[in-house]
């Protein structure tokens, strides 16, 4: 059984702070995706990482895929209240396997 563990489960920070959330698994994935979900909405894809060691940047968000393709991290620089939401990682095999998510709250 593939299992993705995300940490921390909940993060509350002040506007302007930096943060990192983690996604770890004992399984190797073909690719890994990060989604952001707001209350009452479905998840929205932020990025897909495919190659071990890959780093992708999306404005203030930096995503990294581990060399062994078992883990990933999401770093947000200078967080803003609009970054508030549930951040989900999902490993792709023949189906998508989601972690439980990290709830991020950015206070102004």
């Amino acid at each position: 059984t593939q299992l993705l563990e995300q940490s921390p489960q909940f993060l509350s920070i002040q506007e302007g702070e930096n943060l990192t959330v983690y996604c770890n698994s004992s399984s190797v994935f073909s690719s890994l995706q990060w989604y952001r979900q707001e209350p009452g909405e479905g998840p929205v894809l932020l990025v897909t990482v495919v190659t071990g060691g890959e780093v992708k940047k999306l404005k203030r968000l930096t995503f990294q895929f581990g060399d062994a393709r078992k883990d990933s991290s999401l770093h947000i620089t200078a967080a803003q209240p609009g970054d508030t939401g549930l951040y989900l990682c999902a490993g792709a095999w023949n189906k998508l396997v989601f972690g439980a998510g990290t709830i991020l709250r950015v206070k102004s």
């Binding site: 073909s30 909405e41 479905g42 792709a92 095999w93 189906k95 989601f98 998510g101």
Partner: protein, 116 residues
């Protein structure tokens, strides 16, 4: 272009009843997947359909069934509802079935099912 549409948005049922949830994918997308998201958890894969054929099934009991129509819309049926079936049911569409290389899924806003 319209995104993925799901209906109804909210639903209240009692234990033992049956429910049908509906999903219309993005125009041109032939694959639909269903996910269950319990409060505080990530989405759990239920089914994937491509070109009207089942292409994947998650670890859910036989009370859960689905089908895809010629216009690629889909229905998810749940029989003999249990309290534990209360969740947000998400539909996602993509142009092709998941092969493991990061196809982009587009999710609908979901149907919030409450079983009393």
């Amino acid at each position: 272009d319209a995104g993925v549409t799901q209906s109804p948005t909210h639903l209240i049922k009692t234990r033992g009843q049956q429910v049908t949830l509906r999903c219309s994918p993005i125009s041109g997308h032939k694959s639909v997947s269903w996910y269950q998201q319990v409060l505080g958890q990530g989405p759990q894969f239920i089914f994937q359909y491509y070109e009207k054929e089942e292409r994947g099934r998650g670890n859910f009991p036989d009370r859960f069934s689905a089908r895809q129509f010629p216009n690629y819309s889909s229905e998810l049926n749940v029989n003999a509802l249990l309290l534990g079936d209360s969740a947000l049911y998400l539909c996602a569409s993509q142009s092709q079935p998941t092969s493991g290389f990061g196809e982009k899924l587009f999710f609908g806003s979901g149907t919030q099912l409450s079983v009393l």
